[in-house]
C-alpha cells in the first residue's frame, strides 16, 4: 500500500494528511495483474465466426421488430368504444418496438463481450488538484483582475454593487402575487356554500333528501342544493361536502349548545378531513366510526366526530340540520368553524 500513496502524491509539494488512517509499513505486496483468460472466440476461429453471425442475427431481429411495430400500428387500429383494441394496439406496437430495441442492445453487448478486445487496460490517475504552477497562475489571474479593476480597494462602488445585486431579484417576489386573485384567502377559507334553509342533496346528482329516506344505519354523501350549477363547483365542493348518517338517538352524545343540530338521530358532518383534507369517506356502520383512507384518522360519530385514532387533532365540524315544511333535510346555517385542514389563521 506504500506505493499507492506515492502514486497519488507525486509532484505535489504538501502531502495531504491521512488523518487517522494507518499508513502501513508491513503491507502485503500487490501481486500485479493476473494472466489473461482467453475466451472461446479468442481460441477457436469457428466460435468467433459463430458469434459474429449471432450478433448479425440480433441486429436483423431488430430490423424485423421495428418493421413489425409499423405494421402493428396499421393492422391493429383503435376502434372507438372498444377497449380491447386499445390493448391489442398497445401490446403489439410495444412488442415490436421492444424487439427493435433489444436486437440492437443485446447485439451490441454481445459484440463487445465476445468479439471485441477482451483485455483489461490501465490508465494512470493524477491528483485532482491542479499543479502548483497552474494554481499560482490562477491566483495571479485573480490578483491582476483585482488590481486592474480595484475591486477590493474601491470599497464604495463594490459595496454599492453588492447592494444593488441583492435588491434586484426582489421584484420577482412581488411578481408572483397575481397567481392568486385579490383579497384575503383567510376569509374565503372560513365560509362554505351552506346557508340557512339550503337543502341537503345527494352527491353527485343533486336530488334532495327526505327525512324518510334516511333509515337507521344508512349513510349519504351530501352536497348543498345548487352546488352543481355553481361557478366554482369544485372549489365549493372541496369545502361543502358532507356525510349524513342516522344513528339511534340514544347513541349520540350531544354536547350543550348542539342539542338541536341533529334531527331524530340524523347527523351531518363535514367530509373533509381535519388533517390534510382528504375525503373521510369510509363509514363503519357497526361502530359508527369514520375512517380517512389517506392517513387513517378515525372519528367517532357517536361523540360528535371526535378523533379516536390517527394524526388528525380536531373533530369533523358538524353541520346543523333540520327539516323544511315538505319533509326535506335543510341546513340551519353554515358550519360554525372552518372545515378541512388546519391553517395558521384558522381560529383568529
Amino acid at each position: 500500500m506504500a506505493d499507492k500513496s506515492d502514486a497519488v502524491a507525486t509532484r505535489e509539494a504538501p502531502a495531504p494528511s491521512p488523518g487517522t488512517a494507518v499508513v502501513p509499513s508491513d503491507a502485503v505486496e500487490n501481486p500485479g495483474f493476473p494472466p489473461y483468460r482467453p475466451r472461446v472466440s479468442d481460441l477457436d476461429p469457428a466460435k468467433e465466426r459463430a458469434n459474429e453471425r449471432r450478433v448479425a442475427w440480433m441486429f436483423w431481429a431488430s430490423i424485423v421488430g421495428s418493421v413489425f411495430a409499423i405494421v402493428a400500428y396499421i393492422v391493429f387500429p383503435i376502434v372507438p368504444g372498444d377497449v380491447s383494441t386499445v390493448r391489442l394496439n398497445n401490446m403489439f406496437l410495444g412488442l415490436g418496438i421492444t424487439l427493435g430495441l433489444f436486437g440492437i442492445g443485446f447485439g451490441a453487448v454481445h459484440w463487445s463481450k465476445s468479439l471485441m478486445d477482451g483485455h483489461d487496460m490501465t490508465e494512470s490517475r493524477h491528483p485532482t488538484r491542479g499543479s502548483e504552477e497552474t494554481r499560482e497562475k490562477a491566483v495571479e489571474v485573480f490578483q491582476l483582475g483585482n488590481k486592474e479593476s480595484g475591486f477590493t480597494s474601491r470599497k464604495l462602488i463594490r459595496n454599492s454593487l453588492i447592494g444593488a445585486l441583492v435588491v434586484t431579484p426582489l421584484p420577482a417576489v412581488v411578481l408572483f402575487r397575481d397567481l392568486a386573485p385579490a383579497g384575503d384567502p383567510v376569509a374565503r377559507l372560513k365560509h362554505t356554500f351552506w346557508e340557512k334553509g339550503m337543502r341537503l342533496t345527494r352527491d353527485p346528482d343533486g336530488t334532495p333528501i327526505k327525512v324518510s329516506d334516511v333509515t337507521l344505519g344508512s349513510v349519504f354523501h351530501v352536497i348543498p342544493e345548487g352546488l352543481n350549477e355553481a361557478e366554482d363547483r369544485l372549489e365549493e365542493k372541496a369545502k361543502a361536502a358532507v356525510l349524513l348518517m342516522r344513528l339511534k338517538e340514544e347513541d349520540l352524545h350531544v354536547s350543550p349548545g348542539r342539542e338541536d343540530w341533529n334531527y331524530q338521530g340524523i347527523v351531518a358532518y363535514s367530509k373533509i378531513c381535519t388533517h390534510v383534507g382528504c375525503p373521510v369517506a369510509l363509514y363503519e356502520q357497526q361502530t359508527h366510526h369514520l375512517l380517512c383512507p389517506c392517513h387513517q384518522s378515525q372519528f367517532d360519530i357517536t361523540r360528535e366526530a371526535a378523533v379516536i385514532f390517527g394524526p388528525a387533532k380536531r373533530p369533523l365540524p358538524q353541520l346543523p340540520i333540520s327539516v323544511d315544511a315538505e319533509g326535506y333535510l335543510v341546513a340551519q346555517s353554515d358550519f360554525h368553524e372552518p372545515v378541512g385542514p388546519s391553517f395558521w389563521e384558522r381560529s383568529l
Binding site: 502485503v28 495483474f33 398497445n90 392568486a180 390534510v276 383534507g277
Partner: protein, 554 residues
C-alpha cells in the same frame, strides 16, 4: 510490440499506446468520405483534441457501476416519451364535456387535462404505450438513483475527491422525486387530485406563510384552475433543465475524477483498470441503453400502470380505499401517518399543526443528513487524501451500520404508507399496523445498526481467516500419528489480494493543542472517531502472512 505486452500484464501499468501500423491500402469511397468529414469537423471545432483525451479513457467494470447508467438511460427514455406526450397533452383545467372513445366516461364534465390524457390513451395509437413507458421509466429513474446512491454510500465512493458529486447526485435525487410528483399530478384524475389535496393540506400547515402559499399555488382555493398549468411548466421546462445541467456536471466530474474501482490484483490508488471507451465501453453502454429502453417498452406493452380512466376525473368528494402514491413518495406519506396523535395546538390564537410540521421536519433532517454525510465522515476521519478504491461495505463497519439504520428508517416510513393495505391483506387491525410501524421506525434502525455492525466485523474476521489460513477443503486426512486434520486450501495471491487490500483507521487520540488546551471541538471529534473506529480488524500484514504460511505446513 505484441498485443499482449501492451495489455495489463504484471508490472506494466502505463497507458496502452497503440502502435500497430495500418496496412497501407488505398482508401475506398466510404473511407474517403469519413476522412473528409472528420477533417471538415476538426478544422472547425478542433474536436480531435477531445477525441484524443476521451476516446481511450478507461472505465472499470463491476455490476454495481451500472446502476447510475440505468438512471441516465431511463432519463433519456423519459425525455423521449415525454416529448411525444407534450404533443397531445393539454395542460388546462378548463371544464370540458368528454366526448372521446372511452364509453364509461362519455358526457362527463372534466378538465381538459384529464380529457386529453384520455384521448392520448384511447384515441391515439401508441399513446397509451408512450404514457406507460413514461411512467415506468419515471419509476425506474427514481429507483435506480436510489440504488446508485446506496452503492456509492456503502462502498465509500463519496470520499474525497467526490464529495461534491455526491451532493449533485443528491440534488438530482430530490429533483427526480419532484419531477415524479408534478408529472403524476398532471392528468388531474381522482387519485392525483387527492395527492394534491394532501400537498395543499401540508402547505396550509406551514406557519405564517402556509395559507398564502397555498393561495398562490392553487390560484385561490383548492383545487382552483391553475395548478396543472404551473406544474406542467415546472415538470417539462424548469426541472428537466436543471436536471440536464446537473447530469452534465455530474458526468464531467466523473471524467475529471475518473471512476472508482474495487480492489483487485494489479489495481492501485494510482491507476484505473478496465475497458476503453472506444470501442468496448461505448458498445456495452450504448447497447445497455437499448436494453433499458427495451425493458421499459416491454413492461409498458404488457403491464398497465396508472389506469387513470378507472379513477375518473378529480372530484373533491369521492376517494377510493387503499389509495397509494407512486412508490418514491411513500416515505413522505408514511411519515404523515406515523405522527403521534393530538399534535396540534393554538399559540396566541394561531394554529400550529405539529402533526404536519413534525413529519416535514423529520423528512428534512433525514434528507439533510444524507446530503452532508460525506462531509461528516471526512471530518471524523480527518483523511484528506484522495480515494479511488471503493471499499467493501464490511471494511467500513460503522458506515455500513449507519447506512443500514438509514435504510431501515426509510423502509419503516415506506411500509407505513401502505399500512391500510398491509392491514387488509394480512387481516390485521389498522391501529396495530400503525403502532408496529411506529415501533419499527424507532427500534428498527437501532437493531439494524447493531446487527449490520456485528455482521461486518464477523465478515472481516472471516476474510482475515481465509486470507491467512485458506479455506476448508472438506478433505479429511489421517496423519501417520493417527491425528485427523482437515486440509486447508490456500488462496492464490490474486484472490487473497481482494480480501486484504483495504484501509485501516485508528481512533483519534485526544491530545492538547499548541496552547496546551483540549478544545470542545477536539473532544467531540475524538469521541466520534473512537466510536467510528474502536472496533476494527486490521488488514493482514506481510509478517502475519509469512508466519501463517510456515505455521500451516503440517
Amino acid at each position: 510490440m505484441t498485443v499482449e505486452a501492451t495489455k495489463t500484464t504484471p508490472r506494466n501499468e502505463g497507458p496502452r499506446i497503440s502502435t500497430e501500423d495500418e496496412q497501407a491500402v488505398p482508401p475506398n469511397a466510404g473511407m474517403r468520405f469519413t476522412n473528409w468529414a472528420a477533417n471538415y469537423v476538426d478544422e472547425r471545432t478542433s474536436i480531435s483534441g477531445l477525441v484524443r483525451e476521451l476516446g481511450r479513457k478507461i472505465f472499470p467494470d463491476h455490476w454495481s457501476f451500472m446502476l447510475g447508467e440505468v438512471a441516465l438511460y431511463s432519463f433519456v427514455v423519459i425525455l423521449l416519451s415525454g416529448t411525444f406526450l407534450t404533443f397531445f397533452f393539454q395542460a388546462s383545467m378548463a371544464e370540458v364535456v368528454y366526448d372521446g372513445s372511452y364509453v364509461p366516461l362519455k358526457g362527463l364534465e372534466m378538465s381538459a387535462a384529464y380529457a386529453s390524457t384520455l384521448d392520448i390513451t384511447f384515441d391515439i395509437r401508441g399513446g397509451l404505450l408512450m404514457r406507460q413507458i413514461h411512467h415506468w421509466a419515471a419509476l425506474l429513474f427514481v429507483a435506480s438513483i436510489g440504488l446508485h446512491m446506496l452503492r456509492v454510500f456503502f462502498t465509500g465512493a463519496f470520499r474525497k475527491p467526490r464529495e461534491l458529486n455526491w451532493l449533485i447526485g443528491f440534488v438530482m435525487f430530490v429533483l427526480a422525486m419532484a419531477e415524479g410528483f408534478t408529472g403524476y399530478s398532471l392528468p388531474d384524475d381522482l387519485l392525483s387530485g387527492n395527492g394534491l389535496r394532501i400537498i395543499d393540506g401540508m402547505i396550509k400547515g406551514v406557519p405564517i406563510v402556509g395559507t398564502w402559499l397555498s393561495n398562490l399555488i392553487f390560484g385561490g382555493e383548492f383545487p382552483g384552475t391553475q395548478v396543472v398549468g404551473i406544474f406542467y411548466s415546472v415538470h417539462i421546462l424548469l426541472l428537466p433543465a436543471i436536471l440536464a445541467a446537473a447530469i452534465g456536471v455530474h458526468l464531467v466530474l466523473l471524467v475529471v475524477n475518473k471512476h472508482t474501482q474495487f480492489a483487485g490484483p494489479g489495481r492501485t490508488e494510482g491507476n484505473v483498470v478496465g475497458v476503453p471507451i472506444m470501442p468496448v465501453f461505448a458498445a456495452k453502454a450504448g447497447g445497455f441503453f437499448f436494453i433499458i429502453f427495451g425493458v421499459l417498452a416491454l413492461t409498458a406493452s404488457l403491464v398497465t400502470i396508472n389506469p387513470i380512466w378507472a379513477y375518473g376525473p378529480y372530484d373533491p368528494s369521492p376517494v377510493s380505499a387503499g389509495t397509494q402514491p407512486d412508490w418514491y413518495i411513500g416515505f413522505a406519506d408514511g411519515a404523515l401517518r406515523l405522527v403521534p396523535p393530538g399534535l396540534e395546538f393554538e399559540l396566541w390564537g394561531f394554529t400550529v399543526s405539529l402533526n404536519i410540521l413534525l413529519p416535514i421536519a423529520v423528512l428534512g433532517i433525514f434528507l439533510l443528513l444524507v446530503a452532508i454525510y460525506p462531509f461528516i465522515e471526512g471530518w471524523i476521519t480527518g483523511d484528506q487524501r484522495e480515494h479511488h478504491m471503493t471499499q467493501r461495505p464490511r471494511n467500513a463497519p460503522r458506515r455500513t451500520a449507519i447506512g443500514a439504520a438509514g435504510v431501515t428508517f426509510y423502509a419503516a416510513l415506506w411500509a407505513a404508507a401502505g399500512s391500510d393495505l398491509i392491514a387488509t391483506h394480512f387481516k390485521l387491525s389498522i391501529e396495530s399496523v400503525i403502532h408496529a410501524c411506529q415501533a419499527l421506525l424507532i427500534l428498527g434502525p437501532i437493531i439494524a445498526y447493531v446487527v449490520a455492525h456485528r455482521i461486518c466485523i464477523g465478515l472481516q474476521k472471516k476474510d482475515r481467516e481465509i486470507a491467512l489460513h485458506g479455506f476448508e477443503s472438506a478433505r479429511i486426512v489421517r496423519l501417520p500419528g493417527g491425528e485427523y486434520i482437515e486440509v486447508h486450501e490456500q488462496l492464490s495471491d490474486y484472490e487473497r489480494w481482494k480480501l486484504i487490500d483495504f484501509e485501516d483507521y485508528k481512533p483519534l487520540m485526544l491530545r492538547p493543542n499548541a496552547q496546551g488546551k483540549i478544545t470542545v471541538r477536539q473532544r467531540v471529534r475524538s469521541r466520534l472517531s473512537n466510536w467510528f473506529f474502536e472496533d476494527r480488524i486490521a488488514p493482514v500484514t506481510r509478517t502475519e502472512l509469512e508466519a501463517a504460511k510456515h505455521g500451516s505446513h503440517h
